[in-house]
Symmetry: C2
Subunit: 331 residues, 2 copies
Amino acid sequence: MTEFEVIQRYFTNRQLLQCGVDLSIGDDCALFSPRAGTQLAISSDMLVEGRHFFSDANARMLGHKSLAVNLSDLAAMGAEPRAFTLALALPEVQPVWLRDFSDGLFELADHYHCQLIGGDTTKGPLNICITVFGEVPNGQALRRDTAREGDDIWVSGTLGDARLALASYLTTDANQHSDLCTMSEIQKQQAALHLHMPSPRIALGMALRGVARAAIDVSDGLIGDLNHILERSKSGATVWCDALPFGATLSHQNVSVQREFALAGGDDYELCFTASKDQRNVVLAAAKQAATQVTRIGYIESEKGLRLRDANNLPVNLSIHSFDHFYEPGN
Amino acid sequence: MTEFEVIQRYFTNRQLLQCGVDLSIGDDCALFSPRAGTQLAISSDMLVEGRHFFSDANARMLGHKSLAVNLSDLAAMGAEPRAFTLALALPEVQPVWLRDFSDGLFELADHYHCQLIGGDTTKGPLNICITVFGEVPNGQALRRDTAREGDDIWVSGTLGDARLALASYLTTDANQHSDLCTMSEIQKQQAALHLHMPSPRIALGMALRGVARAAIDVSDGLIGDLNHILERSKSGATVWCDALPFGATLSHQNVSVQREFALAGGDDYELCFTASKDQRNVVLAAAKQAATQVTRIGYIESEKGLRLRDANNLPVNLSIHSFDHFYEPGN
């Protein structure tokens, strides 16, 4: 199968033409016109075999996740998905893999009326690079640099189940976390869904326009990602460890595992956002409208740094770091 | 060095903020507003080590070429470059390589006032994925599906020197092309510049708005790329082999090598375009304005297929195929 046959068979004419897409796959460029009065939100994510997913990853779930992690960035800006490009390096052309991958990809894309408008296909070590385009009304994007002293800190959904799923695959984790409880098969499957099939919080992000002050998506672990808000907003925060919404499966683990996986797990794809204290009811109404659980987990303060406290308001000290792609233990 | 230090040191705050870029690197998404009355032209290209460049490729030239091949797609649409994202998988953090790569990248980006607005950095086999954004006035984009019977076919610059440079690196080529003449060191260096430092034909593409009918950039070889115009435009063509603008270095080779490398070489990054016969003087004026040589090489006809003829109008039969990433000799 040639490069053009791969594109033709698996990636062309599989979606309804969306408004704003003036020219799609098949030319040197796609042509896209954002709606009047909107800004285009743009984000790129690259997924690498062995780094972001296992080499035996289910292709359909991988197609879903590749787009989901990008849509999560749009959600964090309050943007509405419109279109995306896909660049794909494949070691070889495997029809079954391509069928499953594209099925998973388009199922999610169609759900959000997000159209594949172009990309590239080449031979090489498996690599999936997606760039997404969303629209947000002028001036209403949720940014990282806009948190203010006194803001509540909120997080959507639950945290840590994706990290727990990863632990069930990694033998090194069982050594590092001696207090990790054995998981039942059902627990493993439940946790695995969080890792492999994340739901981008698009509806919540859009509902939070004009309500939230700052926002970010939690992809590298809550502490690391919240720290990006704090750095960009030149502020600090206190987070209540016992207020964190632990994942359903994680809640069966010991408190030390719960805290570590919820605070520094990664792959959650929830939204962490701040909002003025007097907006609590408005936040809850927005969450209800988006059918998404939100939990208040702390507050922004002027003193720099991030402080963790337990239910008795006592400091909690955890030696954890957020995920970094170039981090090597011992360096 | 962490992922964030890599981004901070080599890819942030190296350019003037361009108009239309409302938010750049450092948030979940970039925010971009195309100018009123324009469509956004979008293209993605992925470059893989060992496939698109050698593992010992000069990093500065690689930075240039990675962006140049993307800008070439904008040129083929008549679009003006505005912004780009860069997703980069690196086997390891090598400061010298990153400095040189980013220097080459930004030198070209600055020349075209094209701003890096976001991306991703991760560990993995070397892979460079760039998505570019350009603007083109509504309805003026140069497309592939608009060639008409009787149109002249034109090509910019010269063809085949990049392919000749590749031949000087590949020992297999010396066997396959027994009539390949030995090249002097100076010839090798001249040809190598075409391979490693292509000049995207942005000025020509913009000057051809409203002048050219159909256009494509020649990246996989003239025949293969012209065929995309023919297929999308449901037409055929005759090309005069002896009218092809052979590269300065290629012109020292035998005619069979000249023809093959010019017709099916790849990596030329010239524009192939069609225009009405009565626009010849307008095409030449546009080319002069863009300070770019253009050559008339054939014409569009209704009979499907691509026919090659020599200076005596006799048919030329060449067994050549355009570059395909999944092509394996013998399959």
